[in-house]
Amino acid sequence: MRRLAALFLAALLTLLACGREEEADVVFWQFQPPEVMEGLIDEFEAQNPSIKVRFETLTWQSGYEKIVMAFASGEAPDLLEVGSTWLPRFEDEDAVIDITGETEDLVADLMMWDMATFQGGRFGIPWLIGSRVLFFNRELFLGSGLNPDEPPATWTELKDAARAMNRPDYGIHGFGMNAGERYVLYKKFMPFAWGNGGRILSDDHGTCLIDSPENLEALEFYLSLKPYSVLERQDMIDEMFKQGRVGMMISGGWNLKRIPEDAPDLDFGVALIPRPDEDGFHASFAGAEILVFPRGARLEPAMELARFLAGAEQALKISSRTKGVQPASREALSHPYYDEHPMERLLLEQCETSIAPPPVPDWVEIEEVINTRLEECLYGKITAPEALRLMQREVDAIITE
């Protein structure tokens, strides 16, 4: 009898819990730490008492799946944070609302609009921007007779530094080179290609330009780092860098938070990704967090929230906490915060010469081709010219489909 009563009570509580869900005016799905977001949402609700916000935090591991399923079941939120490489597909499928008319006044205030623009229309608000920079171990630099205050600025200097620090017998490697996973390879190679003037697609996205002398030169240089590198997956390279076993690696801003937490004694620095020589430029891979409005969203209150979040102060609250991203707001560039945080300033500086992958709906397929052929090349199955020829042929097939 007692068990029956307990069961009944449990059922009743479940029903009550279902019924009591608060009605929100804006449902917002995002990827930033919930403790930071909570404060921002409270602030927003205090300023806009008529708008109730409910936010949910997604993870990068499963967020994309959840978003796709939400679109499928017609339960997409009113405001959604997406990674810039996902957006062209959403735009192409008409899954997000064209907000060109509503954002005229924001154009001058924010950077990286390219990533939110598709076939002439604006489909999102750039919120947070990110890039990859060169991380280096200052101690290993000193130990190898290198000057840690003058990190490598050109390809030659990069290779010389990697060679000088590389002592595999002691478990120390000059450079951390990504391998063994298919998703990140192009992010590590393309900076060298872009810095050398190489391209993936033409401006109108109609022609593939991968098989070029510039890209070949970059790929051959990249491969020439292999003898002084450890080949590993990104998480392992990050780990080995923290253990002081990797002299240099190309990685993202999140390390500015994680290295001091996990390896407080590690003396490290950051630098712009080296350019080929005096002629080239310090290119890197650019990504952005874009705020978009899924079809069927309650646009007006969601737009209020998006405008609030994209403001310099609010975006800076997030980036100062996570360090992985910087505000897209131009106003943040001159914020005193960056005077006190030179490493983050460098990340912001790197953003200015970073390049985003071309915004085409088939980017996922193109990326896969580049990654697959790059990996085969790293493993010595095919030569650099072969790799580029194959990429050219396969990407051509995708874009002319």
Binding site: Y64, E65, V68, M69, F71, A72, G74, R89, F90, E93, D94, A95, G171, A179, G180, E181, R182, Y183, V230, L231, E232, R233, M236, M240, Q243, R245, V364, E365, E368, T372, E375, E376, Y379, K381
Partner: protein, 289 residues
């Protein structure tokens, strides 16, 4: 209430959940596998016949995944079945340590496979424990998960380790049911240890052997978690399995139709292997018995 009505009533909760959460989704995705399904545009966009199947059958990576998966099944199911039986026989003979050993070997089945995969990812890494041990014995150490020839076998070894304790429990339970008289009779007839095992134990526990092999085959065909956590299909597609391929099709390419087609290919493969196994193992039984 009539007993038959009562019985039917007791079945209702299960029937409802089975219809709702199993039958309906299965039929739905069978439909999707013959259709164009675009989640961004409200789902079904018309039937396309065998187009999705044609699409995956013309993809080299699909066949690569097929071969890898079958390699995984063939390489893990027999060793797991044999090793867990051996383990059960040893635990059986362990006397007072029996309880401790039984629990100890079962522990990996309680731990989530995701956690096991993470631990092994570190064990297998360049500076990991495995290479440390290899170094102590003068070995040079290998890049287990980064070498296209070693990555899949490394995952398979982990999988066998993680599952033998679980299947040993089934064998242990079966071993308890072998009547002592049969052992006594065999021994009176002068049978040695191996002869007793072959003529008495094995035939008696054969239904459990069938169960272990079939269940493990079904599970092995669906290998996924290990791949996601340890290699994501790499290096160079060497650990691409069918279910991981399906996942990529569904959630990277957002090609739900093709992904559903893969699901049904996996389903047919599993059914085929399970049927063949049941047949074969029953046949052996008939010839021995």
């Amino acid at each position: 209430m009539k007993p038959s009505t009562q019985r039917a009533l007791f079945l209702v909760p299960w029937l409802v959940s089975f219809a709702l959460f199993s039958t309906y989704p299965i039929l739905f995705s069978l439909g999707v596998s013959f259709a164009e399904y675009n989640p961004f545009r409200g789902g079904f966009a018309g039937f396309v016949g065998l187009e999705n199947y044609r699409n995956i059958f013309s993809d080299g990576l699909f066949w690569r995944s097929c071969i890898n998966t079958i390699f995984f099944v063939v390489g893990t199911v027999p060793p797991t079945a044999a090793l867990s039986l051996l383990l059960a026989l040893l635990i059986e003979k362990a006397g007072r340590l029996k309880g401790v050993l039984r629990t100890g070997y079962f522990v990996p089945s309680v731990v989530s496979l995701a956690v096991i995969s993470l631990v092994f990812k570190y064990l297998y890494s360049k500076q990991g424990f495995l290479n440390l041990v290899a170094g102590l014995f003068g070995g040079s150490g290998k890049e287990w998960l980064l070498d296209p020839n070693l990555a899949l076998p490394s995952i398979m070894v982990m999988d066998i380790w993680a599952s033998i304790g679980y299947y040993a429990i089934f064998y242990l339970a079966a071993l308890q049911t072998v009547p002592q008289e049969l052992y006594d009779a065999a021994r009176v007839d002068g049978a040695g240890r191996f002869a007793v095992f072959r003529a008495v134990t094995l035939p008696w526990i054969r239904p459990v052997v069938i169960f272990v092999v079939v269940v493990n085959t079904i599970r092995a065909f669906q290998v996924f978690v290990e791949v996601v956590i340890m290699t994501r299909g790499g290096p160079m597609g060497s650990t691409m399995t069918l279910v991981y391929y399906m996942y990529e099709k569904a959630f990277h390419r957002v090609d739900i139709g093709a992904a559903s087609a893969v699901a049904f290919v996996v389903f047919l493969l599993i059914m085929f292997f399970a049927l063949v196994q049941t047949r074969l193992l029953h046949k052996v039984r008939a010839s021995v018995g």
